[in-house]
Symmetry: C2
Subunit: 133 residues, 2 copies
Amino acid sequence: MFSVSARTQYAIRAMAHLAGGEGHGATSAEIASAEGIPAKYLEGIMSRLKLSGLVESERGKHGGYRMIGEPEDISMLSIVEAMDGSVKPVNCVDAVGTCSQGNGCLPRQFWIGLKKAIDNYLEEHTLKDVTEG
Amino acid sequence: MFSVSARTQYAIRAMAHLAGGEGHGATSAEIASAEGIPAKYLEGIMSRLKLSGLVESERGKHGGYRMIGEPEDISMLSIVEAMDGSVKPVNCVDAVGTCSQGNGCLPRQFWIGLKKAIDNYLEEHTLKDVTEG
DNA sequence: GTATATTCCTACTATCCAGATAGGGATATG
DNA sequence: CATATCCCTATCTGGATAGTAGGAATATAC
């Protein structure tokens, strides 16, 4: 229950690898081989990380990816969301006013609380916590 | 991300229905029709709830299901676990000593922390909170 | 300007699992 | 015996995840 996708776990390893690399940079192929991640699959992951503004990229020879910012400033939530979208135990958590039960719907309040608990935890922890301690 | 299965949501509605019923009891067919849950599918859900000791059952005419205990004593965690097992962001959270990284594996500590945050929230809330407020 | 190394884009396949359905067996009542 | 209920097993289906394939765009080096 509540298991994290392989994609997200790969993404964390990839970010950790970047964090440990020279100038926080590396090529996708490098990361794939060093971390044992399927190379072609990782390409899609790096693309998502870029879309979310966590890394920047340069094409061509001597190209690659570079982390934007420092590990202690990158929340785990931002990585998780970059992969699998926002935490949403049930669909109605962010459906304002569409709940047939109205705004006082107790189950909805309960799920919103769960989302907050998860978001808080993920927001409080950074890439640095997970890699360097 | 981290979405809750339809099964779990059905289970909560079913338990809520039992809680509101005469003597905390009802038949599977009753619940299905009242809550708009596919009858045959609900049977499997009730079976799981029974296996987890949340309800008891009686077969034959005048049979049905009855909640064991009171709504304020039934944690949401117990319902969630009855449906989809324990909260386990990654498999290694409860794999003692099998982590190739040893016990100090930081990512593992991170996921264990997440599990605890989720478990705590679900444990703190009861069926009563979600149904009666 | 050609070769090469990289990111980037699109499409495809395979596998798994949740959700749901179907049919009937076991058991209790009357 | 008839009926109502829980219970068990098998099956189907759609969508998501994980992974693969092929190549286009782009930057560098010689």
